[in-house]
C-alpha cells in the first residue's frame, strides 16, 4: 500500500481532477445508499401522490403538450444564443472597432433573416 501511494504524483496538475472525480463519485453514490439505509419509511396515500407543491394534483401529469410550445422554445434558444454571442463583443467593443461592428452586423443580419423566415412561415402566430 505504501508502495502504491508513493507512485502517485500529487504535484501532477491532473491529480486534483482525479481527486474531485473520486470525491464526487463517493458522495453521490454514498448519499443514495445512506438515505436508503437511514431514512424512515412511511408509505401512505399522501406519500404516493404526485408532488405539486403540497396541493392535490388537478390533472394527470402525463398530458400531451401542444407542439406550438416546442416551436416557441426552439426560437427562444436560437435568439437567446444570439444574445450570448453579443456579450463578448460588447466587452471588447472598443478594441475590435469597426471590424467587430461589421462582423457582428453580418452575424445579426443572418439571424434577422431567420427571424423573418420564421415570421413569414407563421411560427410566431399562436394558432
Amino acid at each position: 500500500m505504501a508502495n502504491f501511494l508513493s507512485t502517485i504524483q500529487f504535484s501532477d496538475p491532473y491529480f486534483s481532477v482525479l481527486l474531485l472525480l473520486a470525491i464526487a463519485l463517493v458522495m453521490s453514490v454514498g448519499f443514495v445508499f445512506l438515505s436508503q439505509a437511514l431514512g424512515p419509511k412511511r408509505y401512505d396515500r399522501v406519500k404516493y401522490s404526485v408532488y405539486e407543491c403540497g396541493v392535490d394534483p388537478f390533472t394527470p401529469a402525463s398530458v400531451r403538450v401542444s407542439v406550438k410550445f416546442y416551436l416557441v422554445a426552439l426560437l427562444f434558444i436560437l435568439f437567446d444564443l444570439e444574445a450570448a454571442f453579443l456579450y463578448p463583443w460588447a466587452v471588447l467593443y472598443r478594441e475590435l472597432g469597426l471590424f467587430g461592428l461589421v462582423e457582428m452586423g453580418i452575424f445579426i443580419l443572418i439571424l434577422l433573416a431567420g427571424l423573418i423566415y420564421a415570421w413569414k412561415k407563421g411560427a410566431l402566430e399562436w394558432q
Partner: protein
Amino acid sequence: MAPIAIDAQALLQSTYSILPEILVVATALFVLFVDLILPEENKRVLCGVSIIGVALSLFAVFSMGPARISGFSGAVVHDGLGAFFEIVILSACALTLLMATGYSEWEGTHKGEFYSLLLLSTSGMMFMAKGTDLMTVFLGLETLSIPIYVLVGFHRNRMSSIEGALKYFLLGAFASGFLLYGIALIYAVSGTTKIPQLAAMLLDASLAGNPMFLAGAGLLLVGLAFKVSLVPFHMWTPDAYEGAPTLVTAFMSAAVKAAAFAALIRFLLLALPGMQPAMGKILWILAVLTMTVGNLSALRQDNVKRMLAYSSIAHAGYILVGMVSGDVLGGQASLFYLLVYAFMNIGAFGVVMLIAQKEDEGYDIGNFAGIGFRYPVLGALLTLFLVSLGGIPPTAGFIGKFYLFSAAVKNGYIGLAVIGVLNSAVSIYYYLRLVVYMYMMPAGAEAPAPRPPRVAFSLALCASAAVVLVLGILPRSVLEFAERSVLSLLM
C-alpha cells in the same frame, strides 16, 4: 487595451480560402427566401437556382486550383485534398439536385426547405473536408448532420421515414459527443487542436504513448466511424437509409461518407506515422469487420434499398483498406474509390427510384422482374452501376478496387487484400441477383411501368454512367489528381 489590429490582407485571404463554401451558403439562404415569395406552382425554379449555385461553387474550386491557401489562423485550408473532396461532394450534390427535379414532384417533397437543407448540409461537408483544426471538423460535422436528420425524416407521413430520422438523430448525437470528448482529451494532453501541430508532436514520440491521447484518438475515431458507418458503429445505417426518401439516401451514402472520410484521411495520414503499429491494427480489424458484416448482411435482403444500404457499409470497409498503412499509395486509392463510389451509387439509386415508384413496398426485388427487356435503357444502366459496385471490369469500380487491394499488397497487408477480394466475390452474388431478376424472371401480371424521367434526371443518370465507364477505361488523370491531393497533405 490597444485596438486589436485587423490584418486586411489576412482577412481577404481567409475569405478567399472559403469562397466555394460561401457560394453554397449564400445560395441556400437565397433559396430559402425566394421560397417564401414564390407561388406553389413555380417551386421548380428553386431547384434550378440551387444547381446554378453548386455549379458556381464547383467553378470556384476549379479556378482556385490545388494551390495551398490557409485561412482563419489555420482553422481551414484550401489544398489539394480539400479541393478533391469538394469536387466529390459538390458533384454528389449536383447529381442529387438534377434528380430532384422529377423525384420531388412524385413524392410531394417539392418544398423550398428541401433544397436549402441540402445545400447547407453540403456546406458543412465542405468545411469538414477543409478543416485542419479538429474544432472546424466538429463544426462541419454538426452543420452537415443537422440538415441531414431533417432530410431523412422529410416524408412526415411515412412511419419508416420518421423512425429512420429518430434513430439517426439519437445515435448521431451520441457520436458527436464521442467526437467532442475525444477532441477535449487530445487538447488536454497536447494543448492544441490543430492537426498538423498534433502530427508534429506525435513524431517527437512524447505524445504517442500517452494513455489520455490514445483515448482521445480512439473516441475521435469512433465519432467519425459512426458517420461513415464502419462496423460496429453501423446499426443506424439500414433503417435510416431505408426510411429516408431515396433521393436523400443516395446523397447521404455518397456525400456524407466522402466528408467524414476526408476528415479521417486528413487526421490519419498525418497522425498515423507516429501511431503505428497500434492504430494500423485497429483500422485493419475495422476494415475486415465492415467489409464482412456489410456483405454478409446484404446477401439476405429482398428489399433493394436495404440491400444497397448494407452494400454501402461494405464499401466503407473497402475504402478503409486504403488507409490502414497510412501511405500515399493507399490514400490515393481511397480517394479515387470515393469519387467513383459517389457516381456509381447515386446512379444505382437513381435508376432504382425510377423503377420502384413507391417508397417502402416498391423496393421489393420482385418489382424488378422483367425490367431488363421491357425497358432496355433502364435495365442496361442499372446493370452497369451494379457491375461497377461489384467491381467487374471494364468499369471504374474495378479500377478502384484494384488500386485499393494492390496498395494493401504492396504495403505487406496480404491477408487484408485476400479478405477484401473474397468479400468482393461475395458481393457479386447479390448485385447479380438483381440483374438476374431484371433479365431472367418473367414480369408480374400487373407490373407497373417505371416513371418517365425528366430531362435533368436523365442527364444525371447519363453523367454517372459516363463517369463510371470513362474512369473504368482511362483512370490515369483522376488517379494522378488523387495522388497530388494526398501529396499536398504531406508537404
